[in-house]
């Protein structure tokens, strides 16, 4: 049973289109994250939600809009896609508050976005 699952795994689309990536975690964690991994494999935080509240919003173009309908789900919608948006997007979760805090993040398998 996959702990953090993302769909789709691959996305190929044209410039200017809008696309969404979905993420779900079944670990009961209170916090979820979106990270972007570029072509040089650098990992950078984009957004984080804690119990459906946005707590991290790094310097990301406002074409990127995250949404968390509940603490087990975090989606990422991208408008007007550009060539530079091509990357692998990783969803992750962790337990930040309360008991059972361990610190490590659990990652999904990634969604590879290619913008043509």
């Amino acid at each position: 049973d996959t702990a953090v699952s993302q769909t789709p795994k691959y996305l190929v689309t044209q410039m200017g289109n809008d696309k969404s990536i979905k993420c779900e975690q079944n670990l009961g964690h209170d916090t979820m994250y979106w990270y972007k991994q570029d072509s040089k494999k650098f990992l950078k935080i984009m957004f984080s939600y804690n119990n459906k509240e946005l707590i991290i919003n790094e310097t990301v173009p406002n074409r990127f809009s995250p949404k968390s309908p509940d603490k087990a789900h975090l989606n990422l919608h991208i408008n007007s896609l550009e060539l530079g948006d091509s990357a692998v997007y990783f969803c992750a979760s962790s337990q930040v508050g309360g008991t059972g805090v361990t610190g490590e993040l659990f990652f999904g398998e990634g969604s590879r976005l290619t913008v043509l």
Partner: protein, 117 residues
């Protein structure tokens, strides 16, 4: 601000030899340090962490890491490398503590480990 650095882009080692992947950190306060591994076209897998306690931390797949406060290092080690250990390794530090903690991890630039038969 918290940061980690991995000074080597690539480490090459022969199968059966010991391996070390280096990581240095810069934090204010006590560091929470992590190692992750990424195989091609896969997500990041947690290997081990240092929060407090013993400076030698043991993790998955026979890996261990040594926390050295005076050298601000957290090097990943394995006594005998396997070809299947070939992958991309990331060191990370937690950003923030206490009530302001978001749980966010800041990652190093990654080190590719190549183990040759």
């Amino acid at each position: 601000a918290q940061s980690v650095a991995q000074p080597e882009d690539q480490v090459n080692v022969a199968e059966g030899n010991p391996l070390t992947v280096k990581c240095t950190y810069s934090v204010s306060g006590n560091p929470y340090l992590f190692w992750y591994v990424q195989y091609p076209n896969r997500g990041l897998q947690f290997l081990l962490k240092y929060i407090t306690g013993d400076n030698l931390v043991k993790g998955s797949y026979g890996f261990e890491a040594e926390f050295n406060k005076s050298q601000t290092s957290f090097h990943l080690k394995k006594p005998s490398a396997l070809v299947s250990d070939s992958a991309l390794y990331f060191c990370a530090v937690r950003d923030g503590y206490g009530s302001g903690n978001t749980g966010k991890l800041i990652f190093g630039q990654g080190t590719t480990l190549q183990v040759k038969p």
